[in-house]
């Protein structure tokens, strides 16, 4: 069953082609359609816009053009210029406007074209939207979603200002929630929850995953925030990862299985709130933990995940927690340097083997 595969045409040659059956999330018999992650997000947006007239989209070039990655394509024709609203290049004010609209009862879904540009909007994101509820003693609520493509690799990334993974900037800020889906199924289900949530939600979409295909149920569903998803059960090593790295973990697990190493893959799914219990339970079972993130190593998400393992499962650890993360460098343009920026399947395999031999 080819429920998950990737569109090799739209990506550069070097992206590893992930086997179609690597992640199976829909049990046989459940009515489902195959679609890309971009389509799954679009479907979530469209369904929520149908369901709730307060939901609307705003961002640069999200109208006819459909956004830099085509996610909102067709929605302009369907919902019109009012509800699929092109904005000027004013990132901080896009977010501020989303906040203001949310304060008067709308449910905006804003887009920043690349997560990198959110540097211009950190004030409205982290100082205003995230804090208004507490600062007003609960008078305010700010139900918006901020969609941002992030990540790099495989010709989709274009050097230092268009390739970052910045989940830590947001996950460190109380008042925000941060989702980072790895599959079309997760993306749609998490987007529905995000839109229905009464808090500002940062929704990070890995560029390489947009064209990944997978099954999405025909019926309405949503996925909980603050719950990790165990993408694969195993008994020897727990790999904690999110977004695109989940795929490397899954592919590595397949190889490792042939070597007799049984890998459990925990997809963090919502970086914040983080499901510490599921992570703890998994490592208490396996006794070994590998944390994997695309974001830069230093002060990246891996440290937090490791600390949680430490707090939850120290006595069960048979080996030190290992981490794989992005090289601590701005992303260079040249292939010869961009290769090696981020952990890949081989790195995961090697690290898991190391853990077993500790």
């Amino acid at each position: 069953m080819t429920n998950l595969t990737r569109d090799a045409v739209s990506l550069g040659a070097k992206a590893p082609v992930m086997p179609p059956d690597l992640i199976v999330q829909i049990p046989a018999g459940v009515p489902a359609k195959e679609m890309t992650m971009a389509e799954a997000i679009r479907e979530a947006l469209a369904e929520e816009m149908e369901r709730d007239p307060r939901v609307f989209l705003l961002g640069e070039d999200i109208g006819k053009h459909g956004g830099a990655f085509g996610v909102t394509r067709t929605l302009f024709d369907r919902f019109g210029a009012e509800r699929v609203r092109n904005t000027p290049i004013s990132e901080n004010t896009i977010i501020g406007a989303a906040t203001g609209a949310a304060l008067v009862g709308m449910r905006p879904v804003a887009e920043i074209m690349f997560v990198d540009f959110s540097g211009l909007a950190m004030d409205q994101i982290a100082n205003q939207a995230a804090k208004l509820r507490l600062m007003t003693g609960g008078q305010a609520k700010v139900p918006w979603v901020l969609r941002m493509p992030q990540g790099g690799g495989a010709g989709k990334s274009t050097a230092a200002q268009h390739s970052q993974s910045l989940e830590v900037w947001y996950a460190h800020i109380p008042g925000l929630k941060v989702a980072l889906p790895s599959t079309p199924y997760d993306a749609k289900g998490l987007m529905k929850t995000a839109i229905r949530d009464d808090n500002p939600v940062i929704f990070l979409e890995h560029k390489l995953l947009y064209s990944f295909r997978g099954l999405v149920p025909e019926q309405d569903y949503s996925l909980p925030f603050g719950k990790c998803d165990i993408k694969r059960l195993g008994s020897d090593v727990t790999i904690i990862a999110s977004g695109y790295m989940v795929w490397h973990a899954m592919l590595a697990a397949r190889t490792l299985e042939q070597e007799g190493i049984s890998v459990e893959v925990v997809d963090v799914r919502t970086v914040s709130p983080l499901d510490e219990e599921t992570i703890g339970a998994s490592v208490r079972k396996t006794g070994r933990a590998l944390v994997v993130a695309e974001a830069c190593r230093s002060y990246g998400p891996t440290g937090e995940w490791a600390m949680v393992v430490m707090e939850q499962a120290f006595d069960y650890l048979k080996a030190p927690i290992r981490r794989l993360a992005g090289r601590f460098s701005p992303v260079p343009f040249a292939d010869s340097l961009e290769n090696g920026m981020w952990p890949d399947t081989e790195d995961v395999i090697a690290a898991a083997r190391d853990l077993m031999q500790y």
Partner: protein, 320 residues
């Protein structure tokens, strides 16, 4: 002007005095160490806030700043609950979580008081967009200072409101200083309302010591916004009589300059108008002062006696 009712004019006067007395009281309790944090007095600017806010309906929403005690009172907020807020008490509008810089009274029409300079403007733009999409005819009114006009927010917000013809009245209170910085050292033109032309919207400059002029100018701008005419940039020329915050040393200006500005005192000036045009006698106005002073004593008592937030609620109101 003559068409304003006596009641309205007296209510303006009352709110101006209430602001003045609230600020004097706040500075006093701060100096006496009864409250922590900081207080940014609005003294000298009362006509601006009252003139603008009394031109609004209660479903028109303001967005405030670090210096928004006055805006809240002008919009009708209860000084006792405000006082409780600056005392950090659960009975405060923000349940003590906000303090002086963030006093926000949703019930009288506020979107929040944001202490990052300029950050309320985009939020007001969004509220106005929301009004339009909901078919409401409310207006959003963000306040900022002369200093706030140098922020990127100012430009982005005016441009966005202009292209979408949103019901926003951007109020710039030019009190001549941003902390220690004289406005002409930070703003490249003398008349800030001239910037409106760069957005294709009306720019209006008004004597911010004169509550009736502010009220008239604001009323016009609000009506334009309400009826689909788009945003206005309204600059009220006033002066910050006190230091940037209570106790601030003011090394950057002469006392002579401040004293010269004191003569424009908007309350004294309005009192003269009201007595001259027969709205009230000096005694009646004096009675208002007495009444408000009593209100403030009661507010302080209320605030002092009110309980602090219970530490067990520390995790409340972080997420909805």
């Amino acid at each position: 002007m003559t068409t304003l009712s006596n009641d309205l004019k007296l209510e303006m006067y009352r709110r101006m005095v209430r602001i003045r007395e609230f600020e004097l009281t706040a500075m006093d309790v701060f100096k006496r160490g009864l409250i922590k944090g900081t207080v940014h007095p609005y003294i000298g600017e009362e006509a601006s806030g009252v003139g603008v806010c009394m031109a609004l309906r209660s479903d028109d929403l303001i967005a405030g700043t670090h210096r928004s005690h006055g805006h809240n009172i002008a919009k009708g907020a209860d000084p006792a609950r405000m006082m409780a807020e600056i005392f950090g008490k659960e009975a405060g509008y923000c349940r003590g979580r906000g303090g002086s810089m963030h006093i926000t009274a949703f019930e009288t029409g506020s979107l929040g008081a944001l202490a990052v300079v300029g950050s309320g403007l985009p939020i007001a733009v969004g509220a106005a967009l929301g009004f339009l999409m909901q078919g409401k005819d409310s207006v959003a009114v963000p306040f900022t200072g002369d200093g706030g006009t140098s922020t990127g927010n100012f430009h982005e917000a005016l441009n966005m409101a202009a292209i979408w013809k949103l019901p926003v009245v951007f109020v710039v209170e030019n009190n001549k200083y941003a902390v220690s910085t004289y406005y002409r050292d930070a703003v490249s033109i003398e008349d800030l309302s001239a910037r409106a032309a760069g957005y294709g919207i009306p720019g209006v400059r008004v004597d911010g010591f004169d509550v009736l002029k502010v009220y008239a100018a604001a009323g016009e701008a609000v009506e334009r916004a309400r009826s689909g005419g788009g945003p206005t940039l309204l600059v009220t020329e006033c002066y910050r009589i006190e230091g940037h915050y209570a106790g601030e040393p003011e090394v950057y200006r002469d006392r002579a300059e401040v004293n010269e500005q004191r003569q424009y005192d908007p309350i004294r000036r309005f009192a003269a108008v009201l007595t001259q045009d027969g709205t009230a006698t000096a005694e009646q106005l004096e009675a208002i002062h007495q009444e408000i002073q009593a209100e403030m004593s009661a507010a302080v008592e209320f605030a002092q006696n009110a309980p602090m937030p219970d530490p067990s609620t520390a995790l409340d109101y972080i997420y909805a």
